[in-house]
């Protein structure tokens, strides 16, 4: 149970800077998700916490102690690897207890911890098997058990569910949350999967090209994205983010216009922004064959079946939009009317790609 703090941490391999000036505080006992596409530096960040990678510049602290030069073995962290990293020649029980035995822990204590972990992860009947005789899900649980018995200060997980199939992943992530709620260690979890991030995390740290994009709760990351990257990365299908001009109290898409609320209009005027990117989630769009108040029009390009609803790809003044619809009765090239939930829109500065924020009193602030 320790706080982990990154202060201006950078990491380079040769000339490639994979983590750039990272400042991040991981609170004691929280579940922090490091989320991002492959190559964004999230795994490297996790490995720097474990001491498996050197820090090129900056400092990492655990509570008050600077740990840059503390070797891995002295940091008291437990880690679950993507490939599980089980010792192939050791039985399940030996995999779990080996790390404790080399520490010369008392046999009683080892047994106590191991029994609890085997129980919690339903591994009792597999304890004499070799890893190769286990299914993927069982191996993953053994890796978890091995990390759990260590009772380290920090619990680090590197894409722990990515080798499981979709069904298993759902139950595994629930199990993980349960384990964390038992031990309450500081948990850092690396994933590229936004669903895992949303469901497991207390907070999400989104990274892209080595840079931290946003750190906040899943709700805020989803509903109040700090920049265009975050807006488009979180949510499936992704948010529509298109170019728009602001004039008086309207958003212009070429010749078409959307009326903004007085709060938004005043707010945009205050910030002085003119070149904007406009964001709206596909599920906040309502399509109609007949004209609606404050709507714009677009042409249907393609309809995709998503099961519970249909994804309708639209051409709106030369930009591609996607809207979710309950029905599939949309014909290619048909002109449709697009109504947007104006209380759920997002606006970004086109140059900095940052959100220009939200009007005060709009979200009850």
């Amino acid at each position: 149970m320790k706080e982990i703090r990154f202060e201006h941490v950078s990491k380079s391999y040769g000339k490639t800077e994979v983590v750039k000036d990272l400042n991040l505080t991981i609170k004691e006992g929280e579940r922090l998700i490091l989320l991002g596409p492959s190559g964004c530096g999230k795994s490297t960040t996790l490995r720097m916490i474990a001491g498996l990678e050197d820090v090129t510049s900056g400092s990492i602290y655990m509570d008050k102690q600077k740990v840059n030069d503390v070797p891995s073995g002295k940091r008291n962290v437990a880690m679950v690897f993507q490939n599980y990293a089980l010792y192939p020649h050791m039985k399940v029980i030996d995999n779990i207890t080996y790390g404790l035995k080399v520490k010369k822990m008392s046999a009683d204590e080892i047994k106590h911890r191991t029994d609890a972990a085997l129980e919690m992860l339903q591994l009792k009947q597999y304890k004499d098997r070799l890893p190769k005789d286990l299914s993927g899900g069982q191996r993953q649980r053994v890796a978890l058990a091995r990390a759990v018995v260590k009772q380290g200060d920090c619990f680090l997980l590197d894409e722990p569910l990515s080798n499981l199939d979709a069904q298993l992943r759902v139950s595994a992530r629930k199990e993980l949350v349960k384990i964390h709620e038992t031990f309450k260690q500081t948990l850092v979890y690396v994933t590229h999967d936004q669903t895992e991030a949303m469901t497991v995390g207390d907070r999400i740290a989104l990274m892209y090209q080595g840079k931290l994009q946003m750190v906040d709760t899943p709700d805020n990351v989803y509903h109040r994205p700090a920049n265009i990257f975050t807006a488009k990365f979180i949510g499936s299908p992704p948010m529509n983010v298109v170019d728009a001009d602001f004039q008086q109290d309207k958003l212009l898409f070429n010749k078409q216009a959307l009326q903004l609320s007085p709060e938004w209009s005043r707010f945009i005027q205050e910030t002085g922004a003119t070149e904007l990117a406009f964001g709206t989630r596909p599920e906040h769009i309502h399509l109609s064959k007949i004209p609606l108040d404050n709507s714009i029009t677009g042409q249907v390009k393609q309809v995709e079946n998503h099961g519970s609803s249909y994804g309708v790809y639209l051409d709106v003044e030369g930009q591609e939009w996607i809207a979710m619809s309950e029905t599939k009765n949309w014909l290619p090239n048909e002109t449709v009317h697009i109504e947007i939930r104006m209380d759920k829109i997002h606006l970004f500065d086109k140059e900095t790609t940052n959100s220009i924020g939200y009007p005060k009193n709009f979200y009850g602030e």
Binding site: A50, F81, Q82, P88, H89, K103
Partner: protein
């Protein structure tokens, strides 16, 4: 992939050729060792003895101290093997799991020695052995053979297949290198260690050029030296005896190979673990 109908003539010719070149001489050697000399001369290319005899074997056992010679061969091969495997294991571990300056150059230079003719190093080694007073002793044969770049190469290849995360888990548990080598790396590369060891053993067992330079007394001879003695005997009158010695020389390596073939074929077909 779908079954290929493997029926065309050129492929059959290829494999028959391979068998003739690689396997026929072995069968021939075994056959000849059971032939009387006269028979062997008259029917050189017929490898089945007309009147099988053990007299070639008898001659060998009566004229030399076979037990002593076999023991010499064994002690040299075993000691050389143990040392080569041990030093190769340590070096391979360092090359795979350490990062240090000049690592790649050092590896390159060491591996380069595989391509140096033995003749080049033979004399320098001989001089050192003579200076140390070890000429005509099995220890003189052993001493320059305590390391072998082939072993470093083979074990490094095998260790490279160990996922680095296994070592990282151990490091997070604060394990030292001795512990990691003994508890984790050694069990995982056991097949490669075994087959590298057998490979070294067999090479040393069959070695002729170096031991013949060091060992002068027939009592200190190894089996290949005894074999060569019969081969090069005046007038070729002993070549059937030589074949008998060859068959005896072959027995121990072949037994070892067959006993550990599972490991060896494993290392020679895959890359170690799974």
């Amino acid at each position: 992939m779908k079954t290929n109908r493997f029926a065309s003539i050129p492929w059959h010719i290829l494999f028959i050729g391979l068998i003739i070149i690689l396997i026929f001489p072995i069968i021939f050697a075994i056959g000849t060792s059971f032939k009387p000399l006269q028979d062997a001369y008259n029917n050189v290319l017929n490898f089945i003895p007309i009147s099988p005899t053990l007299e070639n074997y008898q001659t060998f056992f009566e004229s030399l101290d076979v037990v002593k010679i076999t023991f010499n061969t064994f002690i040299i091969a075993a000691t050389v093997t143990l040392f080569k495997v041990f030093t190769s294991f340590l070096a391979a571990y360092a090359f795979v799991f350490f990062h240090f300056k000049g690592k790649n150059i050092l590896y390159f230079v060491l591996i380069s020695t595989i391509f140096i003719p033995f003749s080049v190093t033979m004399i320098p080694n001989y001089l050192v052995i003579s200076d140390l007073g070890l000429a005509d002793s099995v220890w003189g044969v052993i001493l320059p053979q305590l390391a072998d770049a082939v072993g470093i190469f083979l074990l490094r290849q095998s260790m490279k297949t160990i996922p680095v995360s296994l070592i990282e888990v151990a490091r997070l548990d604060n394990l030292g290198h001795a512990r990691i080598m003994k508890d984790i790396v050694l069990p995982l590369v056991k097949p490669a260690v075994t087959s590298t060891g057998i490979w070294f053993f067999i090479l040393s067992w069959n070695e002729y050029v170096w031991p013949v330079l060091i060992l002068k007394t027939v009592d200190n001879y190894t089996l290949p030296l005894a074999l060569q003695m019969y081969i090069s005997s005046e007038g070729g009158t002993n070549f059937t005896v030589a074949m008998a010695v060859a068959v005896i020389t072959m027995i121990i390596p072949l037994t070892l190979y067959l006993l550990f073939q599972r490991y060896i074929i494993g290392t020679f077909t895959s890359s170690g673990i799974k």
